[in-house]
Amino acid sequence: MSQALLLSMQGISKRFPGVIALDNVHLEVRKGEVLALCGENGAGKSTLMKILGGVYQSDAGTIHFNGQLVNIEKISDAISLGIAFIHQEVNVLDNLDVAANVFLGREPLKGPFKLIDRTRIHADTEPYIRRLGLEVSSDTRLDKLSLAQQQLVEIAKALSLDARLIIMDEPTSSLTLSESERLFKLIGELTEQAISVIYISHRLREIEQCADRVVVLRDGRNAGELGHEQISHDRIVSLMVGREINNFYVQSNASRTPGFFKVRGLRTGRYPAKMVSFDAGKGEIVGFGGLVGAGRSEMAKAIVGLDPLAAGEIILGEKVISVGQPRSALEGGVYLVPEDRHGEGLVLGMNVRENVTLPSLKRFSPFNFIRRRRECEKAEEQIRSLKIKTPNAETLVLNLSGGNQQKVVLGKWLGMSPKVIILDEPTRGIDVGAKAEIYRLMRSLAEQGTVILMISSDMEELLHISDRVAVMHEGEICGVLDRADCTEEKIMHLAVGNRSVRS
């Protein structure tokens, strides 16, 4: 492995209205090196990478690439330098074939009419496909490929662009274990060809496995760096955390009623052959862990009646909730705060008042006519009690920050005396301060006797907020861990479908 520097970012600062996202950060990548970039959500990893990728401009700092001082102003600048991004979500056009995706925007043309040279585009794609061990032909449509294969197509695209540096952001989040193994082997092969990789992941085990060096960011600053022989799970975590985070958990003294909310044999449209059963007590926070695609969100939708194919039994106290009927769940007080805030939680083009009152509108509208004053009072009430930072109730929610948007979604349901509330990734993309507020809110709701089901892929959150953690794998709960003996390792074991650690 050569030791020459490929990339050197020095003194990078970036400020957003109200937050300093990056403060004098430096980052160096050598040729043919796998550099793991670690940090909690909001530590500044993605901002730093977006500056490198030309999505954002830094306020201060310099970038040297391959020994030259460069100025990356737009995405195309980064591409022409040979910097490629592999995002967490696969960004491909699945209505086109492999060759069209690899050469999108750079199609080889021929003839006087500049038509696409079909022979050449496929011939040019073949070597990349073979190099990556992708066992499909170049004219296969992408919707016929698995997610892992689609990701390989993205890597093929990066290689075809002569990428010298490939940034991989949580590349394994939607891959199976064996697919991930193959990806690591591929990363090894890339580095042998002097291509450098910046690897971003929350899965520390993967980093131990494939990284040559680890750089940890914390609150927008460099928190530390570990060389190859120093890399260990514990060292990374202590650099990442750096401060007390356990204090989010508040031991609750509220009397719990076990078995208040019962789910029995719940089947979802996604996993019709599997069944989910669990109990949750009044005032309990049950965390749901598992990998992406484990069927947690599907379970949540089935519970509130949004999955028409769902079947099973749901009992709340003495009442039976009819599965598959949204109204039954709604009237029973069973609510869902969905994972996708923009797509499912909010009507972005409406204001705070209209969003907050949308589900409860009928309750204070005699003869279906909206009582404006009552509506405004309701909205103001939630803005006050949740401390939603908004100029006023008439502000469009798309102008609020992520944390405040999430509070608006919560506000929709909290005004309707929830009995069971399901929070799907409640703090994704939210800064630390707002996070703590949302945790406090969840706890105080639980104290009032609400059952809280929290789906989370954030390990710290699962460990520190939940009273119990149920771990799902491919549509089933494969284990429930009590708070006392819940560890990251046990959750991971269960999440990958290994039932042996059941306790």
Binding site: P17, G345, V347, G349, M350, L358, N368, I370
Partner: protein, 317 residues
């Protein structure tokens, strides 16, 4: 509210220009006639606007007019139905068709454009078939004077269609801007998924907007039939859906859904009718009619877009 104000000003300016060039514009006959057509066009445009607010579209309105007109004339003159029965028939049919459109759109997830395009072709064909491609009319026949008075008479000197429009505007304003149902229409149009997650039965909301549009189409279908007094099935109501869409868009509805207002739609309609009046009064060749209308809608949309991008630039993100 700003949008409505903008096109109201545009409407007033236009009226002032026409009036200053051609004094005939302010003559009682012309005003009455303009109010009359504004009434007829306004009623179905409101229905179309509701559909557009849910993010849908209805292209079958004009063909429904032909079908309703033919059926109304035949029921009254050839089948000797009583007028209330005939009127109910031609109001019920568009509602039923609207229900069918809504059901196909929400249950089978077929795009509204396609469904109602098929409707446009089918109902026109049916109308021509039922009428044997003959022009149907009311002539001087007796026995349905009440309906004729209701549809083409006057009240306090105002043409009935205009009076009906005023009533419908008031009712629909409350429905759209003050009722839970109206709020749901906007929510579904903006983000159907989020509305569904709030426990709103989005299918029913969308489907009902087509039924409501059918009701209003039926009503203005009767008005239009008595206005023209003879219905030639091959071109009665041609292009009317497009007038309605143009009025709604001019009035601030977005074809992406979730935006629009009753007042805007009505002012948009009035603007288009005054424009047509202008073409007639100013002696512009009537062959240019469409071109003028198209140019004005285009201008309106362009100006609106301009203001919007400027407003966006001003608000710091």
């Amino acid at each position: 509210m700003k949008k409505e104000l903008g096109i109201s000003v545009l409407l007033l300016v236009l009226c002032a220009i026409v009036a200053s060039i051609s004094p005939k514009f302010l003559s009682p006959i012309n005003l009455t006639n303009t109010a009359n057509v504004i009434g007829i066009y306004g009623i179905f445009s409101i229905g179309l606007g509701l559909v557009i607010i849910t993010g849908g579209i209805d292209l079958s309105v004009g063909s429904m007019f032909a079908l309703c007109g033919v059926l109304l004339a035949m029921a009254l003159r050839e089948w000797k139905w009583s007028w209330p029965a005939a009127a109910l028939l031609v109001i019920f049919i568009p509602m039923l068709l609207g229900y069918a459109h809504g059901a196909l759109i929400t249950r089978l997830r077929i795009q509204p454009f396609i469904i109602t395009l098929c409707g446009l072709l089918i109902y026109r064909g049916l109308a021509r078939f039922i009428a044997n491609d003959n022009t149907k009319g009311f002539g001087e026949a007796e026995g349905f004077g009440t309906l004729r008075d209701l549809a083409a008479g006057k009240l306090f000197g105002l043409p009935m269609p205009f009076v009906l429009l005023l009533i419908i505007v008031v009712v629909m304003w409350f429905v759209l801007h003050r009722s839970v149902y109206g709020r749901y229409l906007f929510a579904v149009g903006r983000n159907e998924q989020a509305a569904r997650f709030c426990g709103i039965n989005t299918r029913r909301v969308v489907a009902s907007s087509y039924v409501l549009a059918g009701l209003l189409t039926g009503i203005s279908g009767i008005l239009l039939a008595f206005y023209t007094n003879s219905i030639s099935p091959s071109n009665h109501g041609n292009f009317y859906e497009l007038y309605g869409i143009a009025a709604a868009v001019l009035g601030g509805c977005s074809l992406r859904g979730g935006e629009g207002s009753i007042l805007g739609i009505v002012i948009g309609t009035a603007l288009l009718r005054v424009l047509e009046n202008l073409v007639n009064l100013l002696g512009i060749p009537s062959s240019l009619n469409f071109a003028v209308m198209g140019a004005v809608v285009l201008l309106g949309v362009l100006v609106d877009q301009l203001f919007q991008t400027r407003a966006l630039r001003k608000t710091p993100k």
